[in-house]
C-alpha cells in the first residue's frame, strides 16, 4: 500500500472527513459489573485511590492507583477467557496478533426489538434480513449488536431479577453461524457480556463465549455510541492492555467513520 494512503487517513481524521467515535464508557467505580452467584469468585469493580493531588503527598502532581478486574467497564474478551479457547495458540491479550486490533464492523440495529423485549435474541433470520439490505457480512469483520442498552440507567442496564439478568444477546445458532459461515473476527454488544442475560440457559450455555473463543475470535462488551455507526464501513480500533496471559482488559474502543 502506498504510504500516502495512511497520510490521507491522518489528514481525513484531522479535517473531520473521517470522524472518530468513542465507543467506550468511562472506567468508573460506579459502573455495573457482571454478577455471578456469590459463592464464585467475583470481578473486582474499579477502584481509584489517590496517590497525591498537588498536596503534601506530592506537591506538584496528581495521580491515582487504579485496580479493576480484567472484565470491567468497556472491555475486551480474549479466547483464553473461555474453556473452549484455552488451548489455542496466542489466545491471550498479550499474545494475540496486533493486526486483529483493527478491523471493520457491521452494525446490526436491533434497538427497536430490544426496547420491546429485554430478552430479545439475535437469530440467523434477523442477520439474513440485515444482509439482504446491506450485503453479506465479510470475513474478519466485527459484528456489533446495537440495542441502545447503553442509554439506560444502571439498574435497567443490569436488569437483574430473581431469575437472573434480562438483557438482549445472540442465540446459539447465530453465533455458530457467524463464526463458522461468516468468519467474523468478533462480536460486540452494549450489554455486560457478549451473551444475553439469560444465556446460561441456552444450549450450549453462553453461546457467544463458547463459539467465539473456541474459534479464536474476540468479544467486546459494554460498548456505547453504536447508534453513531453506519451499518457497514466503520473501522473499529480495539487494542486491549498487554496484560501477561490476560483473559481480557478494559480498553478504549474507537471507531473510524467516514462522514462522506
Amino acid at each position: 500500500m502506498h504510504s500516502k494512503t495512511l497520510l490521507d487517513l491522518a489528514g481525513a481524521i484531522a479535517s473531520g472527513a473521517v470522524r472518530v467515535i468513542d465507543l467506550s464508557f468511562t472506567l468508573s467505580p460506579d459502573f455495573p459489573v457482571i454478577v455471578l452467584p456469590p459463592e464464585f469468585g467475583q470481578a473486582a469493580p474499579v477502584r481509584i485511590q489517590e496517590i497525591s493531588r498537588y498536596d503534601a503527598r506530592g506537591p506538584a502532581w496528581y495521580w491515582n492507583n487504579v485496580t479493576f478486574g480484567e472484565h470491567t467497564g468497556t472491555h475486551f474478551d480474549a479466547p483464553i477467557h473461555w474453556f473452549t479457547g484455552k488451548d489455542l495458540a496466542n489466545n491471550a491479550v498479550d499474545t494475540m496478533p496486533a493486526k486483529d486490533m483493527i478491523a471493520p464492523a457491521c452494525v446490526i440495529d436491533c434497538s427497536a426489538q430490544a426496547a420491546q423485549d429485554p430478552d430479545f435474541v439475535l437469530t440467523v433470520p434477523i442477520v439474513e434480513a440485515w444482509e439482504a439490505r446491506h450485503g453479506r457480512i465479510p470475513s474478519r469483520h466485527w459484528v456489533l449488536l446495537r440495542t441502545d442498552w447503553s442509554k439506560k440507567g444502571w439498574r435497567d442496564y443490569s436488569n437483574l431479577r430473581d431469575d437472573g439478568a434480562h438483557t438482549p444477546g445472540p442465540n446459539a445458532a447465530v453465533m455458530k453461524w457467524l463464526v463458522e459461515e461468516r468468519g467474523i473476527i468478533g462480536f460486540g454488544t452494549e450489554t455486560i457480556g457478549t451473551d444475553a442475560g439469560q444465556a446460561g440457559h441456552f444450549e450450549p450455555p453462553y453461546p457467544a463465549h463458547h463459539f467465539l473463543h473456541g474459534a479464536g475470535r474476540y468479544g467486546l462488551q459494554c460498548l456505547c455510541n453504536l447508534d453513531q455507526l453506519p451499518p457497514i464501513g466503520a473501522i473499529v480500533v480495539a487494542s486491549p492492555l498487554k496484560i501477561q496471559n490476560g483473559s481480557g482488559s478494559p480498553l478504549r474502543v474507537i471507531a473510524l467513520v467516514s462522514s462522506a
Binding site: P29, A44, R47
Partner: protein, 413 residues
C-alpha cells in the same frame, strides 16, 4: 421530672459552631477498672478479698484492713443521695460552659460513699441507681439516676452529655443492603432519630428488603460504597456536616481460612470492604464529626462498628474473615483515640454468627439482625463502648478473659 428536649431548630449560620471541650482526663491506672466497667455498662467497685468490704475511689490497698488484694467485681448499684450541690461558676472550661452542674454524695448500700454527677430528678434522701458512665473525655465517672424511670428521663441535660441517644439526632447507616443495616436503620428511626441516611452500594443491584426502606418517612437512601474512595468523599461532602451518629454496618462474610482457599482475591475483597472501607469512612466522616462534638442538641456523638466477636479470637472456619475483623478492631481503637478530642464515643458491637445466609450451615445459637439493631440503640442510649450481643459473643468474651489458649484450641474444630 425532666422537661423534654425540643427538636433542634436549624442552625443560625451567623453563629460560629462551638468547638468541643473535654472534662478533666487524668486517672490512675487502677481507676481504669471503672473505665472497663463503664465501657461495658457494668457497675463495678473494688472489693477487698481479705475483709470483703467494698471501697471507692480506686485504691492500691484496702482502707479497712490494708490488704493489697483489691479486685474489681460487679457491685450492687443502689444508694441514697446524702447531699447535693450545684456548681455555678466552675473553673474548668468544659463544666463552665455547661454550668450550672449538679453533683452530690451518694451513700452506697454496699458501703462506700461516692461523689457523683446527678440526674436532675435525684433528690436528697431518696434512693438512686449508680452507674459508671464515659464522659466526653472517655473516662469513667459516677452518675446517679433515680431508681425508677421518671418522665423524659433520658432528656436530662447532664445525662445527655454521657449518652449518645439517637433522639433528634441524624444517623448514617453505612450499608443498607444487609439485614443488619436495614434493621439498624428502622430501629434508630423508631428511637427518635430525625433522619436516617442509609448507604446503598451498587444501587443497580436489587436487594432483599429494599421496599422496607424505600419511601419510609425519615429514611433517606443514599448512593454509598465505603470501599470506593470517591463515593465516601462525595457523600461526606453532601451530608458529612449532619451526621451525628455513624453506624458502620459494613458486612462482607465469606467462609474459609487459608489452606482451603485458593489465592488472595476473596481476602482482598474482605479487606477492601471491611478494612479499607473503614479507612475511607473514617477519613471522610471522622474529621467533621470530631469538629461537631459540641454542636447543640444534635451534636455529633457516636461512631458504631458492628464487628464479629471473632475479631477477638480467630475462628478458623471463617478464619480470613476473622482476621479482617481483627484488623477493623485494631483500627477502631485508633479511631476512638482520634475522635476523643471531639468527645465522640466509639462503640464496638460484637456479635457471634448472625442469622443470615453466609452462616447458613452454622448451628444455633445465631444472632437475629434485629437483636443487633436493638443492641445498637440500647448501647447508644447507655453511652457504652463495648457490647456483646448474643450467647456466642458473650461466651467468647468470658472464655477469652478466663483462658485465651483454651479458647483458641476450642475454636479449632
Amino acid at each position: 421530672m425532666t422537661d423534654p428536649i425540643e427538636a433542634p431548630r436549624r442552625k443560625n449560620p451567623l453563629l460560629r459552631t462551638r468547638l468541643p471541650t473535654s472534662p478533666p482526663r487524668a486517672r490512675s491506672r487502677t481507676s481504669h477498672g471503672f473505665t472497663r466497667a463503664a465501657a461495658e455498662g457494668r457497675f463495678m467497685l473494688q472489693r477487698c478479698e481479705a475483709c470483703g468490704k467494698f471501697t471507692y475511689p480506686a485504691r492500691e490497698a484496702c482502707p479497712m484492713c490494708l490488704s493489697a488484694r483489691l479486685v474489681f467485681v460487679d457491685a450492687p448499684p443502689r444508694g441514697t443521695l446524702l447531699a447535693e450541690t450545684t456548681a455555678r461558676v466552675p473553673s474548668d472550661v468544659y463544666f463552665r460552659e455547661r454550668a450550672p452542674w449538679r453533683v452530690g454524695l451518694v451513700k452506697m448500700d454496699c458501703g462506700p460513699t461516692m461523689i457523683s454527677h446527678l440526674h436532675a430528678d435525684c433528690a436528697e434522701g431518696v434512693a438512686v441507681r449508680m452507674s459508671f458512665q464515659l464522659d466526653k473525655s472517655g473516662q469513667a465517672v459516677a452518675f446517679a439516676r433515680p431508681e425508677a424511670e421518671t418522665p423524659n428521663m433520658a432528656d436530662d441535660r447532664q445525662w445527655r452529655e454521657m449518652s449518645a441517644d439517637p433522639k433528634f439526632r441524624r444517623v448514617f447507616v453505612t450499608n443498607g443492603r444487609s439485614a443488619i443495616g436495614r434493621e439498624a436503620a428502622l430501629a434508630l428511626k423508631a428511637a427518635g432519630a430525625n433522619v436516617v441516611f442509609v448507604g446503598i452500594a451498587e444501587p443497580w443491584r436489587p436487594f432483599a428488603g429494599e421496599e422496607l426502606l424505600r419511601g419510609q418517612d425519615g429514611i433517606e437512601l443514599v448512593n454509598f460504597d465505603a470501599a470506593n474512595e470517591k463515593s465516601t468523599g462525595d457523600l461526606a461532602a453532601d451530608i458529612g456536616g449532619k451526621v451525628d451518629i455513624l453506624v458502620n454496618t459494613t458486612e462482607y462474610v465469606r467462609p474459609g481460612g487459608l489452606l482451603d482457599r485458593k489465592g488472595t482475591s476473596i481476602a482482598r475483597d474482605e479487606i477492601d470492604h471491611a478494612y479499607l472501607g473503614f479507612i475511607n469512612l473514617a477519613q471522610a466522616f471522622g474529621p467533621v464529626m470530631r469538629m461537631r462534638g459540641a454542636d447543640g442538641i444534635n451534636n455529633s456523638v457516636a461512631w458504631v462498628n458492628i464487628l464479629s466477636v471473632h475479631a477477638l479470637a480467630n475462628w478458623p472456619a471463617f478464619g480470613a474473615y476473622s482476621a479482617s475483623q481483627a484488623a477493623c478492631l485494631s483500627l477502631s481503637h485508633c479511631l476512638r483515640a482520634e475522635l476523643r478530642p471531639g468527645g465522640i464515643k466509639l462503640m464496638n458491637v460484637f456479635t457471634g454468627p448472625v442469622d443470615t445466609e453466609w452462616f447458613q450451615t452454622v448451628p444455633p445459637p445465631k444472632v437475629a439482625p434485629r437483636a443487633i439493631a436493638q443492641a445498637v440503640v440500647a448501647g447508644l442510649r447507655g453511652g457504652l463502648e463495648e457490647m456483646y450481643v448474643g450467647d456466642v459473643a458473650e461466651e467468647i468474651r468470658q472464655r477469652l478473659a478466663a483462658n485465651p489458649k483454651a479458647l483458641e484450641r476450642e475454636l479449632d474444630r
